[in-house]
Amino acid sequence: MYKVTLNSVEETNSIALKLGQAINGHAVILLTGDLGAGKTTFTKGLAKGLGVKEIVNSPTFTILKEYHSGRLPLYHFDAYRLEDGYEDLGFGEYIDSDALSVIEWPIYMQEDIPEEYLEINLQYIDEQTRTIEFIPHGLAYETLCKEVLA
């Protein structure tokens, strides 16, 4: 588990960019944190690191947005609106594929979360400041964290 304090938007973007650049195949990232903590901002940095050209914004209404202009497809989920439960929507097939899947509010999509993933928890300290915890689940994600954060 790695904990980092970020003192500006630029620092957040920088670390997200590095992480995005380090991803080259199937990967699953769970983003947790309160409203306004910076989950979508972090995802924009990941997308940039992946080479995505399109504008990345919040999938709260759409639940899933796909971006295909990067090195890998980026599937950006926001399960916030699934709080009351959902029939199988076929998300598992997206998440298992050779793509980066980023999931906000994963608690409402638990059946589709695989065994190995990187959990990133963002905490709002004040307007400029966040702390981020990186919690890898699985060897591949431990290696990824070491590579990006050490």
Binding site: E87, D88, L89, G90, G92, E93
Partner: protein
């Protein structure tokens, strides 16, 4: 009787035209994530080649799944739409039965997360309900039935021939609007029709 047969339930697109038991035209190709783009153009191409028109079609046979979330819906949606606007009757056959054809076999389809969809068939009849098994459970199951060859989804399987053959014994769907794919999961959300 002119029949369209179509399977899109997994990673193939398989379409064929039959008339009174005779195969007239057929195409089977790997088409993962492209079935929705290709299904209608390929169907049209096959029908044009036979100078068939939609008004000449009496029935359509599709696979029911299990398989890919979107795949199990494509052929079925095409079939349901056609049957809603034309006097075309429908039949639907399990994808696991489709793999076995009329052989004695245990058929398997890869389900994600180290699991398989498994069916057990002989002479076109199911010996158990199509089911979802963890890989280890399947290994045990397989060893309990050494006299059943395992059949997986590969190029050599004549998907349309198998569907057509099995459909000869299958009933017509009475309420086509209520036809839904088989989508075997741990807990199913069933729609009431």
């Amino acid at each position: 009787m002119r029949t369209i047969v179509m399977d899109t339930s997994n990673h193939y697109l398989a379409i064929a035209l039959y008339e009174d038991g005779m195969l007239r035209a057929c195409r089977q190709l790997e088409a993962l994530k492209q079935q929705s783009e290709l299904a209608i153009p390929v169907l049209k191409d096959l029908m044009d080649g036979q100078h068939w028109q939609m008004k000449d079609i009496g029935e359509m046979v599709v696979s029911l799944g299990p398989g890919s979330y979107t795949g199990v819906r494509i052929a079925m949606t095409i079939a349901k739409t056609l049957s809603a606007v034309m006097p075309i009757r429908l039949k639907a056959i399990s994808s696991l039965a489709m793999l076995a054809g009329d052989q004695k076999a245990i058929s398997i389809i890869d389900a994600r997360g180290n699991k398989f969809y498994v069916g057990m068939y002989e002479n076109g009849e199911p010996l158990m309900e199509d089911t979802l098994m963890e890989a280890e459970v399947f290994e045990t199951f397989k060893n309990e039935h050494p006299d059943f060859p395992i059949v997986a989804l590969v190029d050599e399987i004549p998907l349309c021939d198998n569907l057509y053959l099995l459909s000869r014994k299958a009933p017509y769907i009475e309420d086509c609007d209520c036809l839904v794919p088989t989508y075997i999961k741990g807990v199913e959300a069933k729609k009431q029709c």
